[in-house]
Symmetry: C2
Subunit: 444 residues, 2 copies
């Protein structure tokens, strides 16, 4: 079979999406509101999402492994969340004031993750990491932020650097002011990382790191990489920030910091914490967060001014987040053993299928998360974002697109997949079978 057959098949079955995409180009640059949501020849347009499925405007039903940027651990519109929301939306969506719903969610987070001694709600992860960095600069009175090459912390100006290959080039126009104070270190290379950090430690405010590199390709930390970064931070009084926007409530209900035995000064949450509605949370040590307390502070320049924002603590998000976390808490073993086991099974069986067919791949992942990387003469292992960038991305694209087109299985092309509580072994077996069929078609 020819790779063009998949494109043709897709076009035949997504005619309404094609029309909508043409409209969309008149409204949005590139027809999208998030860069990664575009894929060739045009993305399908979703009209509804239920359980593990996305349904597009041509009535194609896709098994969804993208799951709302990995936020939907219980699947789309789980019943307990929907039921609570159906009441809430009649009783206000935006109070604009303090409210008891926000206390309930915060209290639930604090009990599950006691290192959240204090927290501040915002509406996006990008805001939460921006506030974390601001708090770190405020607490340390230093300026430099160290991040990981390929690390993704949202679209805020403070952290939009060394995200995409080639990493040494700016992430775009209009960002040069902040980027001077951001240095980047290579994931899983502790010696080089510490060497680079050492050079700028006098003005180093913080190190911010994802426990696993999620957006960069689902890359797992080597033994002690994170611990040694933390050790360096503690030694030199540098603030250690863990970005748990993807991993929080995903790898464990107590956060990745528990799994990796870490003690972050600050950490950020998002995605799952909002139960499918917009949220960001900056959490951590009372001593640091308290800098943001505006009450009775006489001098505005002695506090750290962070949002908030109009939509912060809105009762729709608070309700969805609370119901999601309550379900996870009440069904902890059931949920995590199911999704983690399915994740393990998926990784093992996918690897086996490609091995049997002599296609060199590496599956990375942990718990319910996984990503495939097609190896080549340049890349034989996946240890950092550079490896992912230099692996055979065109094969990954063809594989993901074939899954979409022929098999109605949706991974956002290139991105890792997430198993939700709605997925079953049958779904994974169908993914495995579809993968075999794609291999047989010889497009890879």
């Amino acid at each position: 079979m020819n790779v063009n057959d998949d494109v043709e098949f897709y076009q035949q079955h997504t005619k309404n999406s094609h029309l909508l995409y043409k409209n969309s180009l008149n409204l949005f640059p590139g027809g999208i509101s998030h860069n990664i949501r575009y894929f060739k020849p045009y993305p399908f347009f979703v009209k509804k999402a239920i359980g593990k499925y996305l349904i597009d405007v041509d009535d194609n039903r896709y098994t969804d492994y993208w799951m709302g940027h990995w936020a939907l651990i219980l699947g789309h519109s789980p019943k307990n969340v929907s039921l609570a929301l159906s009441k809430q939306i009649k009783n206000g969506t935006l109070y604009g004031t303090v409210n008891n719903a926000s206390i309930e969610l915060a209290d639930t987070i604090q009990k599950l993750m006691p290192k959240a001694e204090k927290m501040r709600f915002s509406s996006t992860g990008s805001e939460a990491t921006m506030y974390a960095v601001r708090l770190a600069r405020a607490a340390s009175r230093k300026r430099i932020v160290a991040k990981i090459i390929g690390g993704w912390h949202g679209f805020n100006s403070s952290l939009l650097k060394s995200v995409n290959y080639p990493f040494e080039i700016e992430e775009g126009l209009g960002l040069d002011i902040d980027s001077k104070y951001v240095i980047s270190i290579p994931f899983n290379d502790i010696d080089l990382s510490l060497k680079l950090l050492n050079q700028i430690k006098e003005d180093l405010a913080c190190i911010i790191v994802e426990p696993i590199l999620a957006g960069a390709g689902c890359i797992i930390p080597h033994n002690e990489y994170l611990q040694r970064l933390q050790e360096f931070s503690k030694k030199y009084n540098i603030i250690f920030i863990l970005d748990e926007i993807v991993t929080g409530f995903r790898l464990s209900i107590h956060g990745a910091y528990k799994i990796f035995k870490l003690d972050p000064d600050l950490f950020t949450l998002g995605k799952i914490a909002g139960g499918g509605l917009p949220i960001g949370v900056v959490c951590g040590k009372n001593e640091i967060l308290s800098l943001s307390n505006p009450i009775d502070k006489k001098n505005k320049n002695l506090i750290c001014s962070i949002g908030g924002g109009t939509f912060a603590s809105n009762p729709v998000t608070m309700t969805a987040g609370l119901k999601t976390l309550q379900f996870l808490k009440n069904n902890e073993n059931q949920v995590y053993s199911k999704i983690d086991n399915l994740g393990k099974y998926t990784r093992k069986e996918l690897q086996k299928i490609f091995d049997e067919n002599n296609i060199e791949i590496k599956i990375t992942g942990i718990g319910s998360l996984f990503n495939i990387h097609f190896l080549n003469e340049k890349v034989k292992e996946i240890n950092n974002a550079n490896d992912v960038a230099l692996a055979d991305k065109e094969k990954l694209r063809l594989y993901h697109f074939a899954l979409i087109s022929r098999h109605k299985i949706f991974f956002l092309p290139f991105k890792m997949g997430a198993i939700s509580y709605q997925h079953s072994k049958t779904d994974v077996d169908y993914l495995l079978k579809s993968t075999r069929s794609i291999i047989d078609s010889k497009i890879l």
Copy 2:
């Protein structure tokens, strides 16, 4: 009567709020997730909001003029929005993909505001203004941003400067990197503004301005102030950004730019555009927005990378925004003539009451928005944020608190009020009567 009587009365009637506030202090710095939501002795905690009312955890019912940071032009949970949301929440809250709901909302915005040649959705206003500034720097290849003294564009690092009195002092710790490239000009003083702009025009990327200074105190532009800023921008090829997050769909369904006959290069929307759910929109000239189009761009450093974000274009926000704008469109005359007339009546009658009682105040406002300022020997007029800051803010606080405590009328203390379609002349008459009663109590 003594001012302490109002505090005591409030405390007696908000006992559950007091308990919750104590809990809240263990979770959030200062017990809040947005600095301005605190007021003395502690804010009441809302448990639901319907129509024009906020209901707190002690079952007090407040007539709400804060209206979700002025976002809720149709009131809390209007029926047509609730009905549509009740369907949507069962059919997905976060697709994470392109979707037809976002096309419908964008198309509606574009038809109402044709200067939105292209747009990008994000989840907060703070993100939208950050992206507007980034686009301006990208398009101009210049660095300096000019903003208004007292102008409020959210908590992003790029624009958090000269917001609060004293304006020349930093807005807090951790912000010094960006703030070097922000200069501030005085609202309504065109000569001084142009003089300051002239000095830095070689490296000036953009001027960002709210059509009316909303957060700073509901201050209306003098004749031609905005036009002359725009004229200067056009002359020197500086990008003119209008921040319509408050005014868009509030002053007119076609934006304040129509009312003030302006032609912004970029403008931002938020609040009303999301129908009570989290949103930000950066809109404007195709030529500038197109810099953010990531498709087929070979070099990442030649585009302007803006979000998006996980929650951008989520179908809950898209649905609430669409239903709100459709209602405004279908009932344009009815809605705007009602709220604008009530606004006019409120401003006129409030001014009269204070005048009759020889209390020097000035009511500022336009359309459905208004704010009271207590004058003193230093301040006899309200033309800019400095005047608001130097007016008698303690009297304003006492007045707003007395309205909350005794009369169950809610303005967020110090902040302007907004009339929604749910408010009636009876409500305003009750506000007037309550104001007379407060004046009679001699606390002001």
